[in-house]
C-alpha cells in the first residue's frame, strides 16, 4: 500500500511516539503525555495501542493481535488487517511466534519471553480517575505519591463487602513508586505482569503512553489482612481441560446451559492439539476413527 507510509504513521509522528515510549520505559508506571493522532479507527477501539504498535513495528516483526484473549474477535481481526496492509508484517496467532503482541483486556496464558513486546490498548489510563475526575488533581497526587484515596476506596470495599470489589483493571504499584492502571485485564492476569517481555500501554483518546520494563516489580494493591486474590471461575476448560487458565463462560442453549472455555484461543487450541481434553471435547473415539 504505497499511499501511506510504512506502518501508516508519518515519521515525525513515530519519532514523537518513540520518544514518549522511551520516557515511559525510563519511569515505569508514569503516564507520559503524547500528542495522540487521529487514526483510521475510532477512539476507544485501540488507537493508543495501534499508535504504539505502529511506532514499534519493524519489517521483520511477526504480529499477533488479540481481543478478550482471542485472535478471531472482530476488532482484533480489523487491527491485524490494518497492519498487514500498512506495515506488510507477518502475522500469527501463535503467542510463541509473535515478536509484537497487541492486546485488549488479556495477557496471553503462555509466558512471554525476552524479545517480545506486549502492547496494551488502554481506555482510561488514570487509575485514580474514578476517584478524582480532574487531571490537574490526579497529576498532583502522582507527583506527591499521594495514593491515600485509592487505599480508602479499597478499604471501603472491604468494610462494605468483606473484600475488594474490583475484578478487572485492578490497580498495581510499579517498582514501589507509581500506582498504575493495568488496563481492563481481569485481576487474574495481574501476577503475570512481572515478565521477561517489554510491556507498553497506549491510551489514544487520553493521550498517554506508559510502560513496564522487563522484570519490573508490579504489585497489586492490597492490605495485610486482605491479601490480593487473583481468583477466577472455579472450573476447568470444557475443551482442553486446563485448570489454570482464564475462562469465558458461554451460554450454549435456551435453558441457560453453559460451558467454560479458555479465553486465550491460541493456548486452548494448542493444548487440544497435543491431546488435552475437556468435559465437552468431541469424543476421542471419533477422532481416532478419523485418523
Amino acid at each position: 500500500m504505497s499511499d501511506y507510509n510504512f506502518a501508516y504513521l508519518d515519521e515525525q509522528t513515530k519519532r514523537m511516539i518513540r520518544r514518549a515510549i522511551l520516557k515511559g520505559i525510563a519511569v515505569p508506571g508514569y503516564q507520559v503525555p503524547f500528542a495522540s493522532r487521529e487514526m483510521p479507527m475510532p477512539y476507544g477501539w485501540g488507537t493508543g495501542g495501534v499508535q504504539v504498535s505502529a511506532a514499534c513495528l519493524m519489517p521483520e516483526d511477526v504480529l499477533k493481535v488479540i481481543d478478550q484473549g482471542a485472535d478471531d474477535t472482530t476488532n482484533a481481526v480489523s487491527i491485524r488487517k490494518f497492519f498487514e496492509k500498512t506495515a506488510e508484517v507477518a502475522v500469527t496467532e501463535k503467542t510463541r511466534e509473535a515478536t509484537v503482541i497487541q492486546t485488549r483486556h488479556r495477557i496471553p496464558e503462555e509466558l512471554l519471553t525476552e524479545g517480545q513486546i506486549l502492547v496494551y490498548q488502554v481506555p482510561i489510563p488514570e487509575p485514580l480517575r474514578f476517584l478524582e475526575p480532574r487531571e490537574t488533581e490526579t497529576r498532583k497526587m502522582h507527583a506527591l505519591e499521594e495514593y491515600g484515596l485509592m487505599h480508602v476506596k479499597l478499604y471501603e470495599d472491604i468494610a462494605k463487602h468483606g473484600h475488594i470489589a474490583t475484578s478487572y483493571a485492578y490497580p498495581v504499584k510499579v517498582e514501589g513508586r507509581y500506582v498504575m492502571d493495568p488496563s481492563p485485564i481481569p485481576k487474574f492476569d495481574n501476577p503475570k505482569m512481572e515478565m521477561a517481555a517489554i510491556q507498553l500501554f497506549g491510551a489514544g483518546r487520553e493521550q498517554r503512553i506508559y510502560a513496564v520494563p522487563p522484570y519490573t516489580k508490579v504489585v497489586s494493591l492490597d492490605f495485610e489482612d486482605h491479601p490480593f486474590d487473583p481468583s477466577k471461575a472455579n472450573h476447568p476448560c470444557d475443551l482442553c481441560g486446563a485448570e489454570h487458565t482464564y475462562l469465558d463462560e458461554v451460554i450454549i442453549d435456551d435453558d441457560g446451559g453453559r460451558m467454560f472455555v479458555c479465553s486465550d484461543t491460541d493456548y486452548c487450541a494448542e493444548r487440544q492439539a497435543t491431546g488435552h481434553r475437556g468435559r465437552l471435547s468431541p469424543s476421542q473415539d471419533l477422532e481416532k476413527a478419523a485418523e
Binding site: 508519518d10 515525525q12 476507544g44 481481543d67 478471531d72 474477535t73 468483606g162 483493571a169 463462560e249 479465553s263
Partner: protein, 362 residues
C-alpha cells in the same frame, strides 16, 4: 457444540459490503456527486471542515457522501486523513481586518463604518417548508452590490480607541498546536480556542446556552460577526519573503461582555472570540461565549462551579471524535471484564446468602 461467538473476517467483509449498498440507496435514484454536496450542502461541508480542522471543501463533501450524511463520521474521516499529511510549514496569522466580507453585522451599534451587511443568512426567513424545492431549486439571480475594496475595521477597535474594552496585547510567541502536542492543563487561550473550534457544534452551543441561562452568569453582545474570504500567506524560505498561497472563507465572531472592574482594572468590556471555517455562525458565536466564559479566571471575574467555567470539563469533553469513539466502543466485546464481574457478584451473593443462613441458624 461450540457456540459461534466469533465474528471474524467474513462477517466484517459482509457488513462492509452491505454498508456500501445502503450508502448508495435505491439505484434507480441518481447518485449524489461530490460537487453537488459541496455546492448545495455547503453548511454541512463547512461544519465538517471546521471540526475536521482541514480546509478542503471537496474532501469534506466526499466525506459527507461516504458517511451517508453522518457529519460526525465525516469529521472523523477528515481528521484521520489530515493526520497523515506532512506538516510543510505554518502560515502567517490571517488578517481578518482585510476580510472581503459577505456578511458583517454588529448588534452593539446601529451602524458602523463598513456598514451592516446581512449577506446570505437564514435570519429573518420564515421557517416554512418550501414545497417548490421538492421539484426543483432554480432561483432568480440575487441583486449584486459593488464590492467594498477598502478594509473593514473591526467593531471592537472603535471601543478600543476609547479604552472601553480590555485590550489584547499582540504576542510573538508561537501558539501551541493541539494536533501536535498533548493537551496540558491549565491551557492557555490559544490552545483553548483551538479546542473550541474543533469542538462539537452541539456541545459548544449547549455550553454557550448554559452561560446565557445563569450557569456562569455573563451577558454577551455580538460586537461583530463577519463572514468572508481572507488571504493565507506563508513564508517561503527559498524566496526569503511571504507569498499568498490561497484564500479561505472564515466566520469570525467577537462578543463583548460588561465587566464591573476589579482592584486593578477599571470597569470596561471584555471579549470573547470565535473563528471557524466557512459560514458556520452558530458555532462561531457559541465559541465566543464559551471562550469568554473560560477566561473568567484570567480576567479576574467571578468563577462559579458552572460547567462552562470549568476548563477541564469543557476541553476534555468537547471533541466529538473522542466522545463518539469512546461512547461507541462499549459495543466491542467486553466479555472478559464482564466474566470477572459476574464471578465477583456470584461470590458476593454466596457470601451474603451464607451469612444470612448463619444468622437464621443462630
Amino acid at each position: 457444540m461450540y457456540v459461534a461467538v466469533k465474528g471474524g473476517e467474513r462477517a466484517i467483509d459482509n457488513a462492509h459490503a452491505w454498508l456500501a449498498e445502503e450508502r448508495r440507496g435505491d439505484v434507480t435514484v441518481a447518485e449524489l456527486t461530490v460537487p453537488q454536496i459541496r455546492e448545495q450542502l455547503a453548511l454541512a461541508v463547512n461544519r465538517v471542515m471546521t471540526e475536521g480542522s482541514l480546509y478542503d471543501p471537496d474532501l469534506a463533501a466526499l466525506a459527507i457522501k461516504q458517511s451517508r450524511g453522518d457529519l460526525i463520521e465525516a469529521i472523523f474521516l477528515i481528521r484521520a486523513y489530515r493526520t497523515t499529511l506532512p506538516r510543510i510549514g505554518h502560515s502567517h496569522p490571517v488578517e481578518t481586518d482585510k476580510m472581503a466580507c459577505d456578511r458583517r453585522v454588529s448588534a452593539t451599534f446601529k451602524d458602523v463604518p463598513g456598514g451592516q451587511v446581512l449577506g446570505p443568512t437564514f435570519d429573518y426567513t420564515h421557517r416554512l417548508l418550501d414545497f417548490k424545492l421538492m421539484a426543483e431549486g432554480e432561483v432568480p439571480e440575487a441583486a449584486v452590490a459593488d464590492p467594498r475594496l477598502e478594509p473593514t475595521p473591526h467593531v471592537t477597535s472603535f471601543l478600543n480607541k476609547e479604552g472601553l474594552i480590555q485590550s489584547e496585547a499582540a504576542g510573538d510567541e508561537i501558539p501551541p498546536d493541539l494536533t501536535r502536542e498533548p493537551l496540558e492543563l491549565p491551557a492557555n487561550r490559544a490552545l483553548r480556542l483551538q479546542a473550541l473550534t474543533r469542538g462539537d457544534e452541539g456541545f459548544i452551543l449547549s455550553m454557550a446556552y448554559s452561560t446565557q441561562r445563569g450557569y456562569g452568569n455573563s451577558h454577551a453582545f455580538v460586537g461583530e460577526l463577519r463572514i468572508g474570504k481572507v488571504a493565507v500567506e506563508m513564508d517561503i524560505p527559498e524566496l526569503g519573503f511571504a507569498i499568498e498561497i490561497g484564500e479561505v472563507e472564515l466566520t469570525e465572531c467577537e462578543t463583548v461582555n460588561k465587566f464591573a472592574g476589579s482592584k486593578v482594572e477599571p470597569p470596561q468590556f471584555t471579549r470573547g472570540y470565535g473563528l471557524t471555517f466557512g459560514q458556520t455562525e452558530r458555532k462561531a458565536i457559541s465559541m465566543a461565549l464559551v471562550d469568554r466564559s473560560l477566561r473568567s479566571k484570567e480576567l479576574g471575574v467571578e468563577v462559579s462551579n458552572s460547567p462552562a467555567h470549568d476548563e477541564e470539563f469543557v476541553l476534555y469533553h468537547c471533541d466529538n471524535i473522542q466522545a463518539t469513539g469512546f461512547l461507541e466502543h462499549i459495543k466491542l466485546p467486553h466479555y472478559v471484564d464482564f466474566q470477572s464481574e459476574m464471578e465477583l457478584v456470584r461470590k458476593m451473593r454466596v457470601e451474603i446468602a451464607s451469612a444470612s443462613a448463619k444468622e437464621a441458624a443462630e
